[in-house]
Amino acid sequence: MRNQHLGRRRIYATLGTLLALCCAALGAAALLAILGYVVVQGIGVINWTFLTQLPTPVGVPGGGVGNGILGTLIIIGIATAMALPIGLLTGIYLALFGRGSIPEALRFLSDVLSGVPSIAIGLFAYAVLVAPLKHFSAFSASFAFMMLMLPLLVRTSEQAIRSVPQTVREGALALGMSNFRATWRIVLPTARPAIITALLLAIARVTGETAPLLFTAFGSQFWETNPNSPMAVLALQVFNYAISPYPNWQAQAWAGAFVLVFAVFALSLGARLALRRAMRGFEA
């Protein structure tokens, strides 16, 4: 009787393990298929010209997405410059004075914001920065990206600061350091690798965003560097090329997608490496 039960349990256990393995394989396969497809379709078109030249009109061969890559860097750069200080300081506030109704409300709002569809955030940016000024601008795209990055930065930097052992903080305070100095000089540096990880992931998150760009950055055919003007963005170019009827534009869309995927891949890898360095620090 007992052995029978044991045998059945063993079968269930094996079945369960197999099922889990299958699901894991399915997930991994889907990801690898996307990556593989993008690489196969895109890599043939990638060359120096593609990465550094302006787009050409329909029918003219060659051309590239150089202005889109530059625009992506500018827009994300401005977004990061705005989101990092706000997100980090909010995270510090939540980590240090995180009890009570105001911090709880902040956390709740931040969680809600992280769930708002990016197109709605794009619409908001349009309503406050594009419609009143009567022109599209890269800055309005940066503003939308900032709103997308903020909740991620707030919650992850709060977590990063909280994960610094309380004894380290108390050690600093016990030396007569002020709360601010203890946080700035001791706690934040200890949390820095985790914060860098969060920042890289937040950047990776917005790198591929397209929806909020449609009615903010809008796109441009030129080397535009003025944040107050419409600007080319790689993700937007991919979108426009992909829905075009021209085969060479469609090929360029794949190549652009390849560049985007590669950038996100590199950012995620960098985030993992930074995190691993952080973990090594705490082992000792």
Partner: protein, 269 residues
């Protein structure tokens, strides 16, 4: 024993009072963790706070440098006098008090992102030149019996040091600020016997310069290192009470209180 009488040892040896509490109670929210403690600490002495787990030793210690109030909903009633001044009056500055009362924690807590020498001088050293800072760091590390082991790697990370070395670095960090009082919260609890012996020797040499109050749950350690021992015990409602204070030799041989005797003879705790 009435809770309002101050426990002081009847001895001509110790007459120099530096730190004293009067009817001190400490709370976590509504829970009273330490109740109505009145005690006087002597300037040139090591005082050991002993008692079973949960009797409020650490909480009491953390009241002395105003670290207790950092805990959630924590508050303090009564007074703590440092050289006659109440450190809990409204305009008392916790930062200034913590400069005068240093602390060593139960687990070594060097600052992971600072080098060994930066850790030693972490209190700031405002107004000192680079050379003076280095000199002071060396003096602190020597006083903490760590200099010879780290003098060739002052710029490296403290996390590579052993646990005992890290704890001595934390002692060096505390004494570099030149406090008057050194609080030690079970400073050897996480260390092996050899590292413990080193720290205990160190405590004896530091006592010439600083007043030391050390929490320990190890009675042998209290007997070995301290001049004065204070025994605490939680009452039936869980409030930590000070039961008895006396010269260590006397408390361990002829305790005045029945409960002290029960504890040191191992009948509970």
């Amino acid at each position: 024993m009435s809770s309002s009488t101050t426990l002081r040892i009847n001895s001509a040896t110790f007459t120099d009072e530096l730190l004293a509490t009067n009817d001190l109670s400490a709370y976590y929210g509504v829970r009273k963790a330490v109740g109505n403690v009145s005690i006087v600490f002597q300037r040139r002495a090591i005082t050991a706070l002993i008692g079973p787990s949960g009797c409020g030793k650490t909480t009491l210690l953390r009241c002395f440098n105003r670290l207790h109030e950092l805990s959630f909903e924590a508050r303090v009633e009564g007074t703590v006098l440092l050289d006659g001044e109440d450190i809990y009056v409204n305009d008392a500055d916790p930062m200034a008090i913590r400069r005068r009362i240093g602390m060593v924690f139960q687990r070594p807590n060097p600052f992971p992102t600072l080098s060994i020498v930066e850790n030693t001088m972490a209190y700031g050293g405002r107004g000192l030149t680079r050379a003076e800072k280095f000199e002071r760091a060396e003096r602190a590390l020597r006083a903490a019996a760590l200099w010879d082991e780290v003098k060739d790697k002052l710029k490296s990370s403290p996390l590579r040091l052993s646990g005992g070395q890290q704890q001595r670095l934390c002692i060096a960090r505390a004494i570099a600020a030149e406090p008057e009082v050194l609080l030690m919260d079970e400073p050897t609890a996480s260390l092996d016997p050899i590292a413990t012996a080193v720290i205990e020797e160190l405590m004896a040499s530091l006592a010439e310069q600083f007043m030391i109050v050390a929490v320990t749950h190890n009675m042998q350690q209290a007997a070995r290192v301290s001049d004065v021992t204070a025994f605490m015990l939680a009452d039936e409602t869980g409030v930590g009470r000070l039961i008895e204070v006396d010269e260590t030799a006397k408390l361990f041989t002829k305790p005045a209180d029945r409960r002290t005797e029960d504890y040191i003879t191992g009948r509970f705790g």
